[in-house]
Amino acid sequence: MAGNGPLGDDPDVHGKFGIFGGRFVPEALIPALDEVAAVYEKAKNDPEFLREFDHLLRTYAGRPTTLTDVPRFSEQAGGARIVLKREDLTHTGAHKINNVLGQALLTKRLGKKRVIAETGAGQHGVATATAAALLGLECVIYMGAVDCERQALNVARMKLLGATVVPVTNGSQTLKDAINEAFRDWVTNVDSTHYLFGTIAGPHPFPEIVRDFARIIGVEARRQIQELTGGLPDAVCAAVGGGSNAIGIFHAFLGDEGVQLHGYEAAGRGLESGEHALTLTAGSIGVLHGSRTYVLQDDEGQTIESHSISAGLDYPGVGPEHAWLKDSGRATYHGVTDDAAMAAFSLLARTEGIIPAIESSHALAGALELGRELGPEATILVNLSGRGDKDMGTAMKYFNL
């Protein structure tokens, strides 16, 4: 599962991607992180583990997911050919299932019977509750109280799957605070519990583990696009909150110098409004949730609350590997406003009969603009990271449906 390109290969022994990553956590957690790292190191080289993971991906998650040409949508992109990688077609409806199945198997190898997770939009929570049900693990999900309200459907799904959902009422009551609370639980219950981290942020080894379990997206997509078009795409686009779906599809293309990599963050109500989640675009280097990365913070290092119409992108940090890809210039990151994302959301629904997640709609909006820049000969691969069922409440309000 190791990397295959000049950039973004495995981090160093301290979990560093350049200056980013590492571990900034209470000492009490270090042995648990060491244990996870050691068990993972063994698992990733164990054919039996890989076979089991692959079996679950194929027979339970629904892999490989397909590629879909979207010609009517592409007409709005200056004629460039946009092709979607359909992670929305996985079981539970988003790319999150790949990572949770991998980490749930890892939990069993760790000999632990309880998993905790944080969730913003609810997709990681639903995926974790699903994997926990499948493998017979106790499951507790921390979710910001604000997110619980805007993602009520996913809260109900998690409960139905047997998970306990704990609304977090501290701070901004969103993903960042849910992560804090999950860490507190982990510090207290680390002997019995695995923290099933949902994105490529957090202390080492989580950024590496989550990436490795998500990179199947890019591995499949790279092969599929070659079969479909006879070559590699000109660009790969993905939405970036914490960054797991983006790194999942980027990773297989890191060594392909001719393939542009574009990540799209939530510009919310616009940079000037201050209500956004433009961590890579407008943040500065700092430490959040155990990792050195780009952070939305004030001049004294206090985290600034982020905003996005998408609960899944509403996060003031980002995975350290994206910070590294940004600074190295291998990937480019842009902002997409709530309005632009919702326009792309609506356009894909009306032109292609696919209702995307609002997260993914940020990448779709970015691809429309990129297509106009690159011209009609270009092929753009977009990671459709999830389906939009969970976002219908937001869409109903936004479009007055």
Binding site: G22, F24, E27, A28, N170, S284, V287, L288, T303
Partner: protein
């Protein structure tokens, strides 16, 4: 200025443990923080930790989170923290800052160490800074002449304990339990074993924190540790008081009880 070394030497000479009190800067108010800390010193605390309020306190339970949140809402900034340190150091107590790493990182390690020393602070406790990431901070602290205190936990292996204590000056903070800050009904039995294991690797004083809330618990911990650290129990009393004066009186009573506990 009272240093950690003089505090622990004196406590040792008196055949007792040192009492360490924690309060966040800006709590219960700007100005009220120095008065509250002074009440703790008057009642027998030897060392005061001033918390630097941070938006994402990973290791803190609900009581400290609540206090820190109030402080941040009141607009506490690093300049206020340094002013608080100055005011508390003037009482004669050795005064440390307890802070998560990001505020120092953003402020600049050398600048923070220098400004803290200028304010009369004697060192820092950094709960989320691991030995692997600590070199720049230890260098800045050494250059400014302030101590660095890091944490060991019940889960720490011998190798980790050695790595942590090698980064410490002043004392070693032994987290008594696997968990977040907050007073508890009993102090975890793991604490004593952890202190013993830590002493095998260092001659520095070893202080125990997390979960200590009564004089009896302080006495229990003082029987095997060089210092007893109390935070949430004081904060709870301030939060429960009807005004700042009542809060000060209440924490002074508890601190006297604790001070008597560390002398039993």
């Amino acid at each position: 200025m009272t240093t950690l070394q003089t505090v622990f030497a004196k406590a040792k000479a008196d055949n007792r443990a040192a009492l360490v009190g924690y309060l966040p800067a800006g709590f219960p108010s700007k100005g009220g923080d120095v008065a509250a800390a002074a009440a703790l010193v008057e009642a027998g605390c030897d060392v005061i930790e001033i918390g630097l309020p941070y938006s994402d306190p990973l290791m803190d339970g609900p009581t400290i989170q609540d206090a820190v949140h109030r402080s941040l809402v009141n607009g506490t900034r690093i300049a206020d923290v340094l002013r608080t340190v100055e005011g508390v150091a003037a009482t004669g107590a050795a005064t440390l800052v307890m802070t998560y790493w990001n505020p120092i990182d953003k402020y600049g390690a050398e600048r923070f160490a220098r400004d803290l020393a200028d304010a009369g602070g004697v060192g820092t406790i950094t709960p989320d800074l691991t030995p692997e990431e600590s070199e720049p901070w230890r260098a800045a602290s050494a250059s400014a002449g302030i101590d660095t205190v890091f944490l060991v936990a019940p889960s720490s292996t011998e190798q980790r304990i050695k790595a942590v204590v090698d980064c410490c000056t002043g004392f070693v903070y032994a987290a008594s339990l696997m968990g977040v800050t907050g007073a508890r009904e009993s102090v975890n039995v793991a604490a004593e074993g952890l202190v013993e294991r830590t002493r095998a690797h260092t001659d520095l004083p070893v202080c125990v924190g997390l979960g200590v809330g009564t004089g009896a618990q302080a006495a229990e911990v003082a029987a095997y540790a060089d210092g007893v650290i109390v935070g949430s129990a004081f904060i709870r009393r301030i939060l429960d008081a009807s005004d700042e004066a009542e809060g000060r009186a209440s924490i002074a009573t508890l601190a006297r009880d604790m001070a008597s506990g560390v002398r039993r």
